[in-house]
């Protein structure tokens, strides 16, 4: 309260008296004679496993959620637990592994590199770039997820080296580049980074200012940073370790600009000295990811050989002719950005694992932590036995499960990619990256609060993860920009279908070809829980919003505005539509995962989770009421059902988070015996 004594009015004085009386009553404990006060025993920690039910096979559930390479995951978890570099610490009789975030950023960066060195020695990265086929790709994705469960910096450092630097060489480069660089990259003979973003341009890559000019006399490209806003910024690996970089630059051949192209340049020698004509500075301390050495780079007319142009899309002949199979500069640019898809896929997936970590911790804590008695002289109540606490956490558990299925679907799309599926991957990965990372940040915040003060301790992970993962809504495409792209792409589908009078095909939009679904005016519990109703309402929203968005944009264009300007004006519908697409697509992946199961206890709990996912989405998104997909009565019925679902999911809470595939050692002390972990005997003295 901000009131000062001098401003005390009579009513404030009354309030002070009232508070005093309340406090006095608390201290005196009416109904208890002072003699009955005893020194209470220490609260007992009782492992939730002893009291909670396990109605379904958590191993089977984990198989569904993790989806692939479980044994490989366990192997890598074990490699980390068994090595001192991963900072095993005993707390409350258990060993936890987590980096020492109390180290300086320089120390954290060195530790990240040493951990990479150890994993390299253990052959974890074997086949990450030289492997062939889907099998090695699935395994690589699983390993990256596991590493990310330990530490975001470690995962990002690997992501930059293998997926961005390595991926650029794989996708933009040709045979000569593959032969020269991939094996050395896999073995860390060289360390790569990826210089795309500039101080002045992030999501808008086409606007970057760095220029590469071809010098046909020497057969070299001359790369230059023409202004301060053209300095490369946030380049992971650049500040300390990287020896080589991909440079994104405008390409100038014979005085004409051919747009953005990618080049390879060396920035450090083998001893770590920065190369001539390159200047590097640190990005400084950050709110997270301090184990990653983000740096800034200026190029002062650095010269690189002609072969260092990554030439799968376009090439420059020795005498300075520009050659490209793709004539349309827009398409050429799109081809360049294709590898960034892998980043969006891995970001989306890793976001969900962080939600799993924080939910497993906060659910376990809420099953052992008590607060307030409902009646005098009765035990205090477990946090998770409060309906309000259930309502805070259990819908997030359901969403996290739904998004696990979505993440698995996205990975499948990516691993099985073909040139034809590029568009779908681009749209789905954009939508899921934004939706899953936003969900994660919200989940982390709720879990942090649900753990109370304990959530603020770095060792308990939940609060710290907020700083570590905030960046996910920005890198590899700002979430808002990505969602706008999704809506634009949907509109393009719409226009194509209408113009050519052809049915919708792909992206799950086939429902647009049917007649509009009808939502019953009265929603019973069993209707609300049916897949049919849930599908209908998600499709209804998407279809209507797509119609509205198309109408809005075309109306705006009819008034003489450009298409681009019309988009920016229709941002509200664009936002609603992007969400509608994403929610519906996630829901469908859940339905498919469930459909493959034979009936039993696992299927039952999944259907509870699926209904919770659907109904909480209905409850939370105002669009359903705003556009009338749900009547106010229906919305009330949904709300009531959500509360019911909370109490039905409550008994399964521990079993569900135990299926998340996060080993105990990667959770945190408050997830286990937090009384012992905080005991005097555990204090170093």
């Amino acid at each position: 309260m901000a009131s000062t004594p001098s401003s005390s009015s009579p009513s404030q004085m009354n309030r002070v008296n009232f508070r005093t009386q309340v406090l006095a009553r608390h201290l005196q404990q009416p109904g208890l004679s002072p003699s009955s006060l005893q020194s209470s025993l220490c609260l007992n920690y009782s492992p939730p496993e002893l009291a909670e039910r396990f109605d379904f096979d958590t191993g089977e559930m984990r198989k569904l959620l993790d989806g692939h390479n479980l044994e490989d995951r366990d192997w890598l978890f074990g490699l980390m637990i068994q090595n001192k570099l991963f900072c095993p610490r005993e707390r409350g009789g258990r060993v936890f592994v987590t980096p020492d975030y109390n180290q300086s950023k320089e120390q954290q960066r060195e530790m990240t590199m040493r951990r990479i060195g150890y994993l390299l020695e253990r052959r974890v990265f074997q086949g990450w770039l030289t492997g062939k086929g889907p099998e090695s790709e699935w395994r690589k994705l699983a390993y990256l997820e596991v590493v990310g469960i330990y530490d975001h910096s470690l995962a990002i450092k690997l992501g930059v080296h293998f997926f961005l630097w390595g991926g650029a060489i794989q996708f933009f480069g040709t045979k000569q580049h593959h032969e020269k660089w991939l094996r050395d990259t896999e073995n860390y003979v060289i360390k790569g980074c990826f210089a795309m973003t500039e101080l002045g341009h992030g999501s808008n890559v086409r606007g970057i200012e760095t220029v590469a000019t071809y010098d046909s006399k020497t057969g070299e490209f001359v790369i230059n940073t023409p202004s301060e806003s053209a300095q490369k910024y946030w380049i992971g690996g650049a500040a300390n370790h990287a020896t080589h970089t991909i440079i994104f630059s405008q390409l100038n051949v014979n005085g004409s600009n051919q747009g953005v192209h990618a080049f390879i340049a060396q920035i450090r020698d083998a001893n770590g000295n920065v190369c001539p004509n390159v200047r590097i500075a640190d990005c400084g301390h950050k709110i997270g990811l301090n184990g990653v050495d983000n740096g800034r780079i200026w190029f002062d007319n650095i010269r690189i050989p002609r072969e260092n142009l990554l030439n799968s899309v376009a090439d420059v002949s020795p005498d300075g002719q520009y050659l490209s199979a793709i004539k349309d500069p827009d398409q050429r640019f799109a081809a360049f950005l294709a590898p960034l898809t892998s980043g969006r896929v891995t970001i989306a997936v890793s976001a969900i694992y962080q939600s799993k970590i924080s939910l497993a911790i906060s659910i376990r804590y809420s099953l052992t932590r008590r607060a307030f008695s409902l009646k005098p002289n009765t035990p205090e109540v477990l946090l998770l036995d409060y309906p309000s606490h259930q309502r805070r956490l259990l819908p997030l558990v359901a969403k996290t499960c739904a998004m696990s299925f979505a993440a698995n679907y996205l990975k499948t799309l990516y691993v099985k990619r073909t040139p034809e599926s590029n568009k779908t991957i681009h749209i789905v990965s954009s939508a899921f990256k934004a939706t899953l990372t936003w969900h994660n940040m919200r989940t982390l915040q709720e879990c942090r609060e649900a753990c109370g003060g304990q959530g603020l301790k770095t060792e308990n992970r939940v609060g710290h993860l907020k700083g570590e993962y905030d960046v996910q809504s920005t890198f590899e495409g700002d979430n808002n920009v990505l969602m706008q792209q999704v809506s634009k792409a949907l509109l393009a589908e719409y226009i194509a279908a209408k113009k050519r009078n052809r049915p919708f095909k792909g992206l799950g939009l086939e429902h647009m070809n049917n007649s509009s679904p009808v939502i019953p005016s009265h929603l019973s519990s069993s209707t609300l829980r049916s897949i049919q109703f849930q599908t209908d309402i998600f499709c209804l929203r998407e279809r209507d919003l797509l119609n509205r968005f198309a109408a809005d944009v075309s109306e705006c264009q009819a008034q003489g505005e450009s298409k681009e300007y019309a988009f920016t004006l229709s941002y509200q519908l664009a936002e609603d539509l992007g969400k509608a697409f994403s929610d519906r697509a996630i829901f469908q992946t859940f339905v498919e995962a469930e459909a493959n199961l034979s009936s039993g206890s696992l299927k039952n709990v999944l259907s509870l989770l699926r209904t919770m996912y659907a109904l909480i989405t209905l409850e939370e998104d105002a669009a359903f009421l705003r556009y009338g997909y749900l009547s106010p009565d229906n919305a009330a019925a949904v709300r009531k059902e959500v509360a019911k679902l909370c109490s039905e999911l409550r008994p399964h809470a521990l079993a569900i988070v135990s299926s998340f595939g996060i080993p105990d050692a990667f959770l945190s002390p408050i997830a286990y015996d937090w009384i012992e972990a905080n005991s005097w005997s555990s204090v170093g003295h």
Binding site: P47, W75, G78, N83, G92, G93, P663
Partner: protein, 383 residues
């Protein structure tokens, strides 16, 4: 097996001496090196359950009569039962044994196991889970299951996985023998006391009249010594063990060992290679996976998984190596088992997966762990 004929001879397989507040429990089947018969398991379970409730009991000392602490479970009886079509006997045997292991792992009173001789398989299961394990100059420890067509069970996937680095994989897969000094070094034993001093230790422990871990530890500390790790002990080369046994698959472990052997001549490396090449391929693969899973699970989950595995082993749908191993090692003693599948590469992932799924058999249930209450902190941490 006729269970009703529990004559005196059989009930004498476990002897108890009451000494003030201590109970000295003696495994007494010396001719069979104290291999744990069904009766012994049942009796131990009974005793431990009773002692936990009995306020007069503060400490349990478990030791073996003769030159062994215990050479393991009585698998011979189990396989005899199987051959006669009595699957249930084996299932009940392992069920009880694992429940006993779980009880010991989560026991509220200190158990001191005196490992003055052979400790193998099931013998490790009734000692390593307890709070204090005393090694001596006579100790010989091994988990020899992969040579028998079985896998390190009795909660070994829990305790082996928690040894330093990948030492657990090494001894669990190769069945390598450890002496008392090595047991202490790797943490399988908590103390080393020379056998001559054991009577003093027992006496002091009985006199102590205490359940307090620090008090008991102090008593044993006083009598214990720091033995020298022998010059050629594999434990001195933990870096090589970590390098090789951290590999993802058995095949990769073998090839890593072979390249280590090429670099330096080493007896333990060549015998490790030999063990991995002569052990049951099925056993090796399921054992490795079991230890790797065990590293991430509580002791209860480990035992539930091991119970699934051992039932699958007994059913023999993928491999009958358990029968073959018993034939070659315990009965015919030709030491020349014919494993089937005969090679590592013949075992497909799905065949290995089979051992980790529920048993599809009428009336079969997952191991049901007893509800435990008032657990001590160190027991809570194992769940």
């Amino acid at each position: 097996m006729d269970r009703s004929s529990s004559s005196n001879v059989e009930s004498n397989q476990v002897l108890v001496e009451e000494n003030c507040h201590a109970r000295i429990v003696l495994l007494n089947r010396p001719k069979q090196l104290n291999a744990l018969s069904f009766q012994m398991i049942s009796r131990l379970l009974e005793l431990f359950l009773a002692y936990e409730k009995d306020p007069n009991v503060k400490l349990i000392i478990l030791k073996g009569n003769g030159r062994a602490f215990s050479a393991g479970g009585d698998v011979s009886a189990v396989v005899r039962g199987l051959v006669q079509g009595n699957w249930e006997f084996g299932a009940t045997y392992f069920w009880k044994e694992y429940i006993l292991n779980f009880l010991m792992a989560t026991y509220s009173k200190p158990q001191v196991s005196v490992l003055n001789g052979i400790v193998m398989g099931g013998g490790a299961g009734v000692s390593v889970h307890g709070r204090f394990r005393i090694a001596t100059e006579n100790s010989i420890f091994a988990m020899p299951e992969t040579a028998l067509g079985l896998f390190p069970d009795v909660g070994a996937s829990y305790f082996l996985a928690r040894l330093p680095g990948f030492f657990g994989e090494y001894i669990g897969l190769t069945g390598a023998r450890l002496d008392g000094a090595e047991m202490l070094a790797c943490g399988l034993a908590t103390h080393f006391v020379s056998s001559g001093r054991l009577p003093f230790m027992e006496e002091a422990l009985c006199k102590a009249n205490s359940s307090d871990l620090a008090t008991i530890s102090a008593i044993i500390d006083k009598l214990s010594e720091q033995p020298n790790l022998k010059e050629n002990s594999p434990y001195r080369q933990l870096d090589i063990i970590n390098e090789c046994f951290s590999r993802r698959t058995i095949e990769e472990i073998i090839s890593a060992l072979e390249s280590a052997a090429a670099k330096q001549k080493n007896d333990w490396i060549s015998s490790a290679i030999k063990s991995l090449k002569t052990g049951s391929p099925t056993s090796l693969k399921i054992s490795l996976r079991s230890i790797r899973e065990g590293r991430l699970q509580g002791v209860g989950q480990c035992l539930v998984r091991e119970y699934r595995m051992v039932c699958k082993v007994m059913l023999g749908q993928v491999s009958k190596d358990f029968f073959e191993g018993c034939r070659a090692i315990l009965w015919d003693k030709d030491r020349n088992p014919k494993w089937e599948p005969s090679k590592l590469e013949l075992l497909k992932d799905a065949m290995v997966d089979h051992y980790f799924t529920k048993v599809d058999r009428e009336g079969w249930e997952d191991l049901k762990l007893p509800t435990r209450s008032n657990l001590p902190v160190h027991a809570i941490a194992k769940l």
